[in-house]
Symmetry: C2
Subunit: 426 residues, 2 copies
Amino acid sequence: MTRISATYDIETPCGLTHAAAVLAGEQSTGTFVRLAAETDALRDRSAARVEQIVPTGTSATPSLPCRKTGGKYERGLVTVSWPIGTFGLSLPTLLSTLAGNLFELAELSAIRLIDIDLPADFAHHHPGPQFGAAGTRQFMGGHDGPVIGTIIKPSVGLNPAETAALVKTLIEAGIDFIKDDELQANGPDCPFDDRLVAVMQVINAHADKTGKRVLYAVNITDEIDQMWRNLDTMQTLGATCAMVCMHSVGLLGLRAVRNRSNVLIHGHRAGWGLLSRSPDIGIRFSVMQKLWRLAGADHLHVNGLANKFTENDAIVAEAALSVQSPVSRHASPPHIAMPVYSSAQTIWQIDPARSVLGNDDFIFCAGGGIMSHPGGPADGVSSLRDAAAAARQGVALEDFAKPGSPLHRAIDYFKKPIIDLPSFAT
Amino acid sequence: MTRISATYDIETPCGLTHAAAVLAGEQSTGTFVRLAAETDALRDRSAARVEQIVPTGTSATPSLPCRKTGGKYERGLVTVSWPIGTFGLSLPTLLSTLAGNLFELAELSAIRLIDIDLPADFAHHHPGPQFGAAGTRQFMGGHDGPVIGTIIKPSVGLNPAETAALVKTLIEAGIDFIKDDELQANGPDCPFDDRLVAVMQVINAHADKTGKRVLYAVNITDEIDQMWRNLDTMQTLGATCAMVCMHSVGLLGLRAVRNRSNVLIHGHRAGWGLLSRSPDIGIRFSVMQKLWRLAGADHLHVNGLANKFTENDAIVAEAALSVQSPVSRHASPPHIAMPVYSSAQTIWQIDPARSVLGNDDFIFCAGGGIMSHPGGPADGVSSLRDAAAAARQGVALEDFAKPGSPLHRAIDYFKKPIIDLPSFAT
């Protein structure tokens, strides 16, 4: 029978073997007392199974408050498998099973979901990204290198006309991609329809003149019916990229957008810290992004190297790479998405961002890295594009930059951050 | 201008005042460098505002891994307000704003969202529970006292016929309410339609005979289109209660169900531990339940007193009480929902469960507390109903129970747990 498996990093005062059994029981046929109806045949058919336990250490105190106590707290990696007959291929039910009540078990003083192994059926059943990197380039009317992007700032406060004016400045600066901030959706001060009309006028005019269609990831995040209306409005106006705040709408909302969308889906991960910040409870990005890709995201935010938030470079590199790895090792389609680097990015992060992936199929979003360039935003974009060319040719920025060029001025202006890539990415 | 405010429990090595300003900036008009376009007028109109800072302590080490470090880590309660003009009344955008990137801020070594104060507009704009406690009793054909319920166990593994046979046993035992386990949704081993047909045959036959319509909370959790199909199937078969795993479908999924539902919505919180387990990152139940109620849940799981999981009784009592409190202190409608106590519940928890609320408008789910009664499930249900009567009359179980009665036998059989209620609930 086809099974799905998940690996958890757990800590327990009850012994790893017992804790793993409780976890598997709670999440399948068991309850806190064994019932007569839980026959051996039923268990054989439907129960979750502990596949592997790898102890990783012990501590004297619990990592999280824990009702049960013990002399020591054992930590380990526990792999559990489920027959998919009990829950089928539904992503919401997958969540209820792999990320449900188990987070509240009294036998656990830490629990993180760190890996899932999806059967081929999942990769076949779910739509996955509709366009990916190749489609993204087509929507732009052809494009080489990484997609150089930026974010409308201030995040909120501009009205539709002011937003469109900023978009015009950015387009004239040569930008490839512009996104709304995740806070900007459809408030009365900057309504979705008015904003999109104003912005698409600028984008369409530029496309008509130059053949280059700048991507505008307009934030469609809203209730389901409104998101669908937003997609209709996008189609009417020729917009090509819908941004979705994935935590705000859930997997199901993302999937519902994908089902009715014929445009790029730009997956924003605002709220991700809630699931990832603690080392003792949560879900690893490499797990969650598989589900987001199954549900249909073409682009996925992965934070940036040397970002302004808390994740270190190893986590960001792992996240970026995971987005370009097959969604299931058991089958095609691989459902590859395009990683989006963002947060305090400048010319200095392009080469390491590329070296993590080994290709140019990524979006590189810079805010200050473009707008604060001493020569203005056009020089900002130009310096990033030259930095990408240098990276592709394997030449150091300092050697690549011609004296007085925008890249040269950027080298002088932007402080080089310390980037500490893990060995797999260098 | 109408504002919405949120209170966070934060910890920071950067000073509370600075950290609060960073949080407010990140979640509104600011970015990591101040832009020229962020004018004073724009800030006045659109920026989040720090309303209050209440220091609560300091520690020498950070609670969560934190990129920034300091000699001490200050903890405090920070209240921030936003003008609703920037994001409107959409629940998903509310989430992006109040529970978005801020969880990843490098200036914070702990952050929990612990309170929100919703303007009246939210209570008016969103549908809220369609039926609540009064409607629940009507669906049952009239009912007094707490609703005595149970869960289909084993959680998964029974086929539709076996499920219906168990439902028949439970109905004959006098139960009011039966729910699917959150793991049981629409897998090939127990398809939704087949299960519902089989179960409703039993329930409808009993209703035709006795006038009592037992509630069956069938788990409709699935992708959006399938949930809507499930609602249609429910209507065809006369089913009256749809269970939704709220984390698995998100706020938007819950709201989408409410928009097309004419039945009770039973909100299951599987996965809640992910947001609540850590004292240093997450969202408090009293916050999240407001959003679930706005989106339309009639019933909300709150765990049980003396449960098998990790929450203590004070947390459970606060959760239960929050569900019956007005959703906004600024306006009607209050959107009251019905709390559902569940997890290792027996006759001993009914009186304290009632005393928390001061009324009988709750669902009390017992598994072993019914099925393991030495006299069988009918005695199990009878003993719980007598325990509820004793609670209502303010009589101790031991004094209320007639010798040899099911309640008397339950008193002997089930171990009395230690329950430690907070002062507000006694």
